[in-house]
Symmetry: C2
Subunit: 132 residues, 2 copies
DNA sequence: AGATAACCTTCCAGTAGCGGGAAGGTCAAG
DNA sequence: CTTGACCTTCCCGCTACTGGAAGGTTATCT
């Protein structure tokens, strides 16, 4: 199985697959000519990585998740702990973005958006954040 | 005004202030000994930058906003356009994170999180995203 | 005068997670 | 035997800084 074929199947760019090998997430075999030879197990891992990454896990979290996946003696508590921490980070990020959104939406709605220079958005940025 | 003093007033680390100078956002004067000499205008700009960055604007957006702020002949429409685009990016990001959150929360709540190896989280990552 | 500490300077390297592109080897088809 | 489509490694670039090394300047203390 060549890298292009694996890229098509896993949905990951070939560049990303090479990168994952370079940081030790996968270890595909090599053909005599130096080309990578992927086995089914590699493809499963790459699919796992693609899905974990698409859920926003960091590459290091993915490494840990992959190790747990391979470890038949794992405790599901360890997986849940990783996922819960990530969930908490997502919640914090959403809260942060919603706060930005509220402030910015106020400023935008207050701006007439015409040819004149007066602008509440710039005024808001120019002034120290007043109590509200 | 030394950089440490400006850092204290603007809330930005000295490192960041040097970085902003290096990319041309500010141009503080220099004393004969080579030390930066900040004027009130520099401090205002840095405060502006700190607030714009804290609202999540990219540094390049900040450069454009700063230019508009300095341009007394600006059209507020230009400012509003920048801010609206940023608002849209924030909304898209929130939607993306909420989608991740929903999926991940489902998986986490389905996991018993004990000493046993069975884990719906890993199962969800191992399997292709089923239709739902 | 000398020492010490607290400033200041520049420059280099590293972070996350790749993407772009150069330079070069390999292989199947025509 | 050449073309073209693969494959390889390697290095730079991206964002927005942060840390740290190496070294100059200034004020204070003895």
């Amino acid at each position: 199985m060549t890298i292009t074929e694996v890229a098509r199947r896993s949905g990951l760019p070939a560049k990303t697959i090479r990168y994952y090998e370079s940081i030790g997430l996968i270890r595909p075999l090599r053909r005599p000519n130096g080309y990578r030879a992927f086995r089914d197990g590699d493809i499963m891992k790459l699919g796992f990585l693609a899905r974990a990454r698409s859920l926003g896990f960091s590459v290091e979290d993915c490494r840990a998740l992959l190790a747990l996946w391979e470890d038949k003696g794992r405790a599901s508590a360890d997986v849940k702990a990783l996922a819960s921490q990530h969930l908490a980070r997502i919640e914090a990020k959403i809260a942060e973005l919603e706060s930005l959104h509220a402030t910015l939406a106020d400023l935008v709605s207050a701006c007439s958006g015409d040819h004149r220079p007066d602008c509440p958005i710039l005024a808001g940025l120019a002034a120290p954040p007043a109590g509200r």
